[in-house]
């Protein structure tokens, strides 16, 4: 008798799962889900997506080895120029608190001129940033820059990001300008 009860329970679960899947597919095809970037996620969806993203990046970046020489001026200059070309429109620069991209993207891109909360370990933060710049994040507006940029170039950007919150607008301008004062003389 217990085996009959068990079988009917399995049947019941299978039917319930089938109905749930069918309901999910019907919802996807219904077009009722709002995909506009100006329509905010519910707190539960936001938590689920953020947790999924953070856990995924932490796991994927765990084995990345951070170069020992991230603090060199050469890395700051190379990474600063690339940051100014590729990242500033979304992630801002000293003296700028908003941009059209920063206002319109959802989830909002982090303001990298401010020290990131919750990343106490600079090594872990560097690994996290390297992975994110290289691979991008699905459906977030963050591209995978690894397609056209080698690892060294991405580490230069990571090196620059480490110091970005400390920079004044004037320092930022000097570090990120691609031209040089002696370029006229060559």
């Amino acid at each position: 008798m217990p085996s009959t009860k068990f079988l009917s329970c399995i049947k019941c679960l299978a039917v319930a799962s089938g109905v749930a899947v069918a309901a999910g597919v019907a919802f996807i095809y219904s077009g009722f889900y709002p995909v506009g970037a100006d329509d905010r996620h519910t707190a539960l969806t936001f938590w689920a997506l953020e947790t999924l993203r953070e856990r995924s990046i932490a796991r994927a970046s765990a084995g990345i080895e951070v170069p020992k020489n991230l603090s060199t001026p050469e890395r700051l200059l190379a990474g600063g120029a690339d940051y100014n070309d590729m990242c500033v429109s979304c992630h801002l620069k000293p003296g700028k608190t908003e941009s059209d991209f920063a206002l319109g993207l959802y989830p909002a891109p982090p303001n990298l001129t401010q020290a990131a909360p919750g990343h106490g370990d600079p090594e872990a933060q560097s690994r996290h940033r390297f992975w994110t710049i290289k691979h991008g994040i699905k459906a977030s507006g963050m591209p995978a820059w690894g397609a056209g940029h080698d690892d060294e170039r991405i580490w230069n950007m990571v090196a620059f990001l480490r110091r970005l919150p400390d920079l004044s607008p004037g320092q930022y301008q000097v570090l990120t300008a691609r031209g040089s004062t002696d370029s006229d003389h060559h």
């Binding site: 001026p73 700051l76 070309d85 397609a147 056209g148 301008q173 691609r178 004062t181 003389h185």
Partner: protein
Amino acid sequence: MKRKVLCWQVSLAVPTLLLGFSAQAHEPEKHMKEAEKPECAAMKTMDPSKMDRDDPVMQAMMQKCKEEMHQEEAGPEDSHADHSRHHDNGNANSPVEHEE
């Protein structure tokens, strides 16, 4: 069958080419021509006693502005030599050199 293969080839080739062009478009050398110059004048007004010369940010700024800083440190004796050198290069009247 041939059309199907051609269709696949085109659908693979187009994104590959686009990706290639986008990567090429961000070569640093391509940005140099229209690049903005560092505004090194701000460094002249900085208090030298407050400059931490061991700080990589300061080192990077000095590296970027080294020519201007060198002229500042060289003083009036050397400045004549510098000016004559720049005369040879035809840049003696550049605004950066005469900025106070």
